[in-house]
């Protein structure tokens, strides 16, 4: 048998060692790993750029809308203020006491034997109640009776329109003065009547009870 000798085994061995050098293999692995990391970073950067572009679009849209929103909010505040103010003003207007109908009713109750000398009237700030003081003269055969009739008639008439009506004499006294009524001297009485009522509309029951009270007093 021929003797087989490998005279190049050292070189082959060195070549294999060079190929399997751990440092070289380590460097290759490191480079591959670095490339993966770089690609991963690149992919994240690309996504970030896309999101940034989306953010710019959204912010541009908001920049267009924002001034309109601010103006709309301001206008809504103004409108709410107007609505609230109008409500309060309407409430004040509706709660006013109208003197003209009262003066008309009073004039309707004054008969020829009654003369009013003065009227002092005050309404509450919110218009809910009224206080009137009437000073006058009654001239009749029975002047006190004439004054009383005026008081009752006034109470009845006011009770048709208002509630909690009170018409009371603060003073009623015969006067020494006589007046000529239809050419005949007539006795007089001086009276002071206090009228109070609530401006809330009366109910039919309230008006009826005032009329009944007046009838009973007669």
């Amino acid at each position: 048998m021929a003797l087989q000798l490998n005279l190049l085994h050292e070189e082959i061995s060195e070549h294999r060692q060079r190929q399997r050098d751990p440092l070289k293999l380590g460097i290759y692995a490191l480079v591959a790993f670095g490339a993966i990391l770089f690609l991963w970073y690149g992919w994240n950067a690309y996504q970030t750029i896309q999101i940034r572009s989306q953010l710019q679009d959204v912010q541009a849209e908001w920049a267009k809308v924002e001034p309109k929103v601010i103006a709309a909010q301001k206008r809504a505040e103004e409108l709410h203020k107007i609505i609230d103010s109008t409500k309060v003003l309407d409430g004040i207007i509706d709660s006013r006491f109208y003197w003209a109908p009262f003066l008309a009713q009073l004039a309707g109750c004054v008969s020829p034997d009654i003369q009013l000398i003065s009227l002092e009237g005050t309404s509450a700030d919110d218009g809910s109640s009224v206080n009137v003081s009437l000073e006058g003269l009654s001239a009749a055969t029975e002047p006190r009776h004439a004054a009383e009739q005026f008081r009752q008639k006034l109470a009845e008439q006011l009770a048709k329109k208002y509630s909690s009506v009170k018409v009371e004499f603060r003073n009623l006294e015969d006067s020494d003065t006589t007046v000529n009524l239809a050419g005949a001297p007539t006795a007089t009485a001086r009276f002071l009547v206090n009228v109070t009522f609530d401006t809330k509309a009366s109910t039919p029951e309230t008006a009826a009870s005032t009329a009944t009270k007046t009838e009973a007093q007669k």
Partner: protein, 188 residues
């Protein structure tokens, strides 16, 4: 591959390992970390801005609806504002009242300002109330009644608070009348 590493090789492997760990740390801390953080922030900002934009559209619709609903209130408010003339009330209100009563046959009306104050209600911060004394030296009762009726109907923001009627000593047909009226005026 040698079965055992020599001291030099072990040192190299150790240093390489440290360097690798440092590299990974730097990568995540200084490169990928801020990038991801920036992306999360931008995503959050996008969501918030989109929510704001969506709610703003609702806001705009609400205001448009409110404008329609408040049309009546707006025109009523403008009408009430128009009752206040330009300038200081002391300059235009007395002549206005004098002319008004002249038109009803009641002459020489005297008008003076008693007091002026603001409203406590927040809704009426743009308005003020003035209290006036109106003196009518000679007024027929019937004409007075008509004048007061007309005044109360034509001036919604005027309220007569006190009325004083006395028979005129010289002429029993006429009465001396004192009115205390409160007006609500828009502050210019």
């Amino acid at each position: 591959m040698p079965n055992k590493f020599n001291k030099d090789q072990i040192q190299k492997i150790f240093l390489s390992g440290l360097g690798f760990i440092a590299l990974i740390y730097c990568y995540f801390t200084f490169f990928l970390g801020p990038l991801n953080s920036s992306r999360e922030t931008m995503t959050q900002t996008i969501n918030e801005t989109q929510e704001k934009t969506a709610s703003s559209k609702t806001e705009l619709k609400k205001t448009a609806n409110l404008e329609v609903q408040a049309k009546e209130a707006t025109s009523r408010y403008e009408a009430l504002k128009a009752t206040t003339q330009e300038g200081a009330p002391i300059a235009w209100f007395p002549p206005k009242m004098r002319n008004f009563f002249d038109g009803h046959g009641i002459e020489k009306a005297g008008v003076k300002l008693d007091s002026s104050s603001a409203f406590k209600e927040a809704e009426l911060s743009d308005w003020m109330k003035d209290t006036w004394s109106i003196e009518l030296p000679a007024a027929d009762y019937e004409e007075l009644g008509k004048a007061i009726a007309d005044l109360e109907n034509s001036e919604p923001l005027l309220a007569v608070q006190k009325i004083s009627i006395h028979a005129a000593p010289d002429d029993p047909q006429f009465q001396q009348v004192d009115l205390t009226a409160q007006t609500i005026l828009f502050t210019q």
